[in-house]
Amino acid sequence: MTDAGPLLVAEDLRKHFPAKTGALFAGHDTVRAVDGVSFTIERGRTLALVGESGCGKSTVSRLVLRLIEPTDGRVMFDGRDLTKLSAEALRKARQDFQMVFQDPYASLSPRERVSDIIAEPLRVHNAVDGRRAQRDRVVELLERVGLSAWHGDRFPHQFSGGQRQRIGIARAIALNPKLVVADEPVSALDVSVQSQVINLLSDLQVEYGIAYLFVAHDLAVVKHIADTVAVMYLGRIVEIAEKRALFARPHHPYTQALLSAVPNPDPDARRSQIVLAGDVPSPTRVPSGCRFHTRCPIAQEICRRVDPAPQTVADDHAVACHFAKPHPIPADRPAGADRA
């Protein structure tokens, strides 16, 4: 095992899906769900992928786990190219990366007892010797995620949404993975339960040194849990930075709009200052030049023609925009401040 270097490096990942268009005289278009995405996840750290529906963030999470095959690009995990592994080698490698899903109702088999659900990865990978060791490990996992040993005898429908997500997390960490990919793990949960699950994920990271790829649309949740944040728009990362830098000095106009659109639960706060016009274009018809130019408040002529390359604006801070400039959003958004 190489323990030096980053845990995961995604290099120029692409995933194009064929799409039927037209009802009668069908033509074929290509959906460029992911169109050249690169990032690095350090050991024990969290990278968050944020963006709106259709930006490709969930597709990236599936590419990273090789649940789907990339059209192009590669994923280096722990020094090995996952995209080149044989089926058998990939199956073995999967011990080290697991997934937590958005919908804890749909991702747990309704006919299996919770202890069997959690034991499944242990069985598949022959991770423990004997039934007794397996049972002990399941109890340990249940207790680690805040449930009790007796919960193991129950079925998923007997649990609340938050408890089901805990079960999903117990299953994901059963094999001591190095990476957990969590796709919107708290967005289906009630507000009062979200924070429990977020805190649990943080605790597990500290305790076991797990790295997370955290896919989310909720920027407030991301701000809380991430070390690095990548903002996606139409299949591309438009800005990637260390969390504090991204939230304090977003450079890309899309990041700025996204941040200012989040409703602030402070009634004295300044109201949304950048309201973007229009909708996200279809990924079958990606705009020319900069993909964001059709909605961008500062677009110029060049943006329609030239696709901006990512440029480094500070340490660990890259932006793909011709006119990127820092736009500080005051932390407290004081009352009475003018609209920009």
């Binding site: 949404g161 009630d190 507000v191 009062s192 805190n199 639960p265």
Partner: protein
């Protein structure tokens, strides 16, 4: 009541029940509140809190043989809604009372153009002719910010994006100049940049038309952006009411406090979120006494045995918690008449 005028809507002691496998489930249990003309009231709560059922009870949209209002009174614009015939209620609905929902696609008819659907409402309620109704539909689409309304009026719902469909729903709801618009999680299914557009539209409509709005949501941020006053519901009851500013700055009920503190926020940096332990109770088995007591850090003996009184606090605020009552453990029950005064 500020101003002394009769409120547009007065709900008192509302109780709504649903049939369950054994007996009934109370989804709304003794909910009372007023709404002034032109006011925007937020109702916030988690799943199963009764916020949507409260709205459906006001609208008279509970399905027959399913949910039923079994107690209380709803007065709207001078009329006692619960004593009206279903015909009269239908007259009111769509005209003076309108509602929009979370998923616009399920509330729009896929085989009619959006123009036909808006026109239908105004032809029924405003008795307009075909041409005038179409003109009204275009005017409404323009009002809600749909570009190129003359062309869009002939679009079918599937040809529009989620944000555009929600605008169409709002256009339809406002087409007969309602006095009250109830919006049930209208932005929950939308992306955050589209949510911002819809919230701006609702703010603009209030300013231009003076329509009263009840905004139902789980998102405290949405309430802070839009509402004047807020009701916090938990397990079928109102736990706290107040102006948005007062309630967010200085929440009184332990549930409201916990909710605000457990939210991750963009304007804060914290290593660890506060959390409310446990989970939202099941409507078939509400906890006795205060329904929040199993999850409450301030819980005392009385909280599990007796329902807390709704205590009037300064600035027109109310909170249903035993902490507001000078409770002497030697005395079996405090003097509630005094407390409520």
């Amino acid at each position: 009541m500020a101003g002394g005028a009769e409120p547009l809507l007065a709900v008192s002691g509302l109780v709504t029940e649903f049939p369950a496998r054994h007996g009934t489930v109370r989804a709304v249990d003794g909910v009372s509140f007023d709404l002034r003309r032109g006011e925007c009231l937020g109702i916030v709560g988690e799943s199963g809190s009764g916020k949507s059922v409260t709205a459906l009870s006001i609208m008279g949209l509970l399905q027959k043989g399913n949910g039923r209002v079994v107690g209380g009174q709803i007065r709207f614009n001078g009329a006692d809604l619960l004593s009206l015939s279903s015909r009269d209620r239908q007259q009111l609905r769509g005209a003076d009372l309108a509602m929009i929902f979370q998923e616009p696609m399920t509330s729009l008819n896929p085989v009619f153009t959006v123009g036909q659907q808006i026109a239908e409402a105004v032809r029924i309620h405003k008795r307009l002719g075909r041409t005038a109704a179409r003109r009204r539909a275009v005017e409404m689409l323009d009002l809600v910010g749909i570009p190129d309304p003359h062309r869009r009026v002939d679009s079918y719902p599937h040809q529009l994006s989620g944000g555009m469909r929600q605008r169409v729903m709002i256009a339809m709801a406002l087409s007969c100049d309602p006095k009250l618009l109830i919006a049930d999680e209208p932005t929950t299914a939308l992306d955050v940049t589209i949510q911002a557009q819809i919230l701006e539209l609702l703010r603009d409509i209030r300013k231009r038309l003076g329509t009263a709005i009840i905004m139902i949501t789980h998102d405290l941020g949405v309430i802070a952006e839009l509402a004047d006053r807020v009701i916090v519901m938990y397990a079928s009851r109102i736990v706290e009411t107040g102006s948005v500013r007062a309630l967010f700055k200085n929440p009184q009920h332990p549930y409201t406090q916990g909710l605000l503190r457990s939210m991750p926020r963009l304007d804060e940096d914290r290593d660890r979120l506060d959390q409310i332990e446990g989970s939202v109770p099941n409507p078939t088995a509400w906890p006795g006494g205060c329904r929040f007591h199993p999850r409450c850090g301030f819980s005392r003996d009385i909280c599990s045995s007796a329902e807390p009184p709704t205590v009037r606090l300064a600035e027109g605020r109310q909170s249903a918690c035993w902490r507001h009552v000078d409770y002497d453990p030697g005395q079996a029950r405090p003097n509630l008449a005094e407390v409520r005064a």
